[in-house]
């Protein structure tokens, strides 16, 4: 039996005033395989932070650790003022999460999904009622209030999924490839919702395979083989890698990958 080394709590001031996430040396090992290899970064309050990388670069693993779904092997992480090693449950109340694969209950009605997620996030009865009314209006779903989520077009589902992910007004929302499969106009409509949430002060942490969406982020990190190879504003990354767009930047960096997914 291996003993884990004694875990020191984070030092005072580990997270600076204007930041909402700080990771130092965040690592995940599966046996001999280092999926996430000592990554360090900070995310500022209210920014849209793009978390890019090829399939298998370690994005999802890193995101799962940040959300407290997977435990880290090593590193120090502070999220919304709490130490990820000690206060996972507290952190979960401060964050929202939406993924392309799972976000809503298809067999529940629209209002039931809102009610369920409101309950999970600990909203009070009257607050849930108020939020439900607000969302039905804002998403133009009043007529579909009693429809099963399964029957909604994908674009509506995504908007609803995003809305319930932030129903408790979290400090950060994690979006894992939120826009896959929808038409170009709906995809852009979704990003306008992201902008609105960011304007309300919610920090957005988002992964995507659409490189035009990387341009909509305030800052972008690009992971290659478990490490963060680049992190800056899209404009500066393009300048640094002498590229016209983020697609070229991504290709330049991802081509350096050695491991096969």
């Amino acid at each position: 039996m291996k003993f884990r080394k004694f875990i020191q709590p984070l030092e005072e001031g580990f997270l600076s005033e204007g930041d909402v996430i700080r990771a130092e040396g965040l690592t995940k090992q599966f046996g001999n395989f280092t999926a996430v290899d000592h990554i360090s970064f900070t995310v500022h309050k209210g920014e849209i932070f793009g978390f890019l990388g090829a399939n298998g670069a370690g994005k999802t693993t890193a995101m799962k650790m940040l959300c407290g779904i997977s435990t880290m092997t090593d590193g120090q992480v502070c999220i919304a003022g709490y130490d990820l090693k000690w206060h996972v449950r507290r952190i979960k109340r401060e964050i929202g999460y939406m993924s392309q694969k799972f976000s809503l209950y298809e067999d529940l009605k629209v209002w039931e999904n809102i009610r369920l997620f409101g309950g999970i996030y600990g909203l009070k009865e009257d607050e849930i009622e108020r939020k439900t009314e607000l969302l039905l209006d804002r998403l133009d779903l009043r007529k579909q209030k009693n429809s099963l989520v399964r029957s909604l077009p994908l674009g509506w589902k995504q908007k609803l999924a995003f809305s319930v992910a932030i129903i408790h007004n979290p400090k950060i929302v994690f979006l894992d490839e939120p826009t896959g499969g929808v038409d170009p106009a709906t995809r852009r409509g979704f990003w306008e919702m992201i902008y609105d949430a960011a304007e309300q002060g919610i920090t957005i942490f988002v992964t995507t395979h659409y490189m035009d969406e990387a341009e909509y982020c305030d800052r972008v990190s690009i992971m290659v083989d478990g490490r963060i190879e680049a992190l800056d504003t899209p404009a500066r990354l393009k300048e640094m890698y002498n590229s016209d767009n983020m697609d070229q930047v991504f290709h330049t960096l991802a081509r350096r990958a050695k491991r096969d997914e």
Binding site: N55, G56, D183, A185, T186, E192
Partner: protein, 307 residues
């Protein structure tokens, strides 16, 4: 003679769900034909009809000269189909999967190795690994090998690159190009508009109908509006201001710029006048340029006028 011909194919799943509302297409031998559109547009339904898995309500179609209803057995010998969700057996190894699909068509890997070599050789080092333990990119290569193992004349690929990163997507399209050069006809669907230009011809599909069918350059050449790109420091505010302008038909974010389609009757100096009206609203660092459309611009424009 065309390898695939479809005439006015319609299919409904219920009175409410009309998946296909009468679509027609023809695909030549050695042609790479793309179905471009979002989830729910009807792409998978069309694939299932052409691969003889379901029957259309109306319309006719033939594949390799055989009728999709009468001669479905002949068609099944001649087509390779890679569904959107991988059809692999997760608890069989790589080698067992390819052997299984080969056996279904009365052949084996050895006899047809040349056909799949380009792709299969990349996963051969992992032959004994279970398919379920492969990475997404390797599963994709194995599924494509399985669809090719009986040397089909036509290959149907339903969203092979969805959820795949940009680098792997480019590699996949390079593989398709090499297959096409060997004379294979390929019909591929994708929600990624940038992949449209890699096809010989495309159909832009939306809500069960084709908005247009042509070569990518043909579709672009039909775009008859003024298209401008606009860039400034306050992009979200700029988007709202542009949408409020009555000279603007539609406006969407496009990477680091906004693309705006102007209404038909705009003056020659629309850039100058737009510039000054934006300046009056406090946007003092705006850069406006006239640009050529790409396929995504065309799709979104056709989408707005077909709605």
């Amino acid at each position: 003679m065309f390898t695939v011909v479809a005439e006015d194919i319609a299919k409904s799943y219920s009175r409410k769900v009309r998946a296909l509302k009468g679509v027609s297409l023809s695909v030549d031998k050695g042609e790479l034909f793309g179905l471009i559109g979002p989830d729910g547009a009807g792409k998978t339904t069309l694939f299932r009809i052409l691969t003889t898995l379901i029957l259309p309500d109306s319309g006719t179609a033939s594949v390799c000269g055989y009728d999709i209803v009468k001669d479905y057995k002949e068609i099944r010998k001649r087509v390779g189909y890679m569904p959107g969700k991988f059809s692999l057996y997760q608890d069989l190894s790589v080698r067992e999967n390819i052997n299984f699909f080969a056996t279904l068509f009365g052949t084996n890997l050895k006899d047809n190795y040349e056909t799949v070599k380009d792709i299969y050789s990349q996963i051969e080092p992992f032959e004994r690994r279970k398919a379920g333990a492969l990475s997404g990119g390797m599963k994709q290569k194995l599924a494509l090998s399985c669809a090719l193992i009986h040397r089909p004349d036509v290959l149907f690929l339903d969203e092979p690159t969805t959820g795949v990163d940009p680098v792997s997507r480019k590699e996949f399209w390079a593989m398709l190009k090499r297959l096409k050069e060997q004379g294979l006809s390929i019909i591929v669907s994708t929600p990624y508009m940038d992949e449209a230009t890699l096809c010989d011809r495309i159909a832009l599909i939306r809500n069960g109908s084709f908005m247009d069918t042509d070569s990518p350059s043909g579709i672009i050449s039909k775009f008859d509006r003024t298209l401008l790109s606009v860039k400034g420091s306050r992009m979200p505010a700029l988007l709202k201001a542009l949408r409020a302008d009555d000279r603007v038909h539609s406006c969407f974010a496009f990477g680091d710029t906004h693309h705006i389609v102007m209404n038909k009757s705009v003056s020659a100096d629309v850039i100058g006048s737009l510039h000054s009206s934006l300046l009056a609203r406090g946007f003092d660092d705006v850069e406006i340029k006239s640009i050529a459309p790409n396929i995504e611009d065309c799709y979104m424009y056709l989408d707005t006028i077909n709605r």
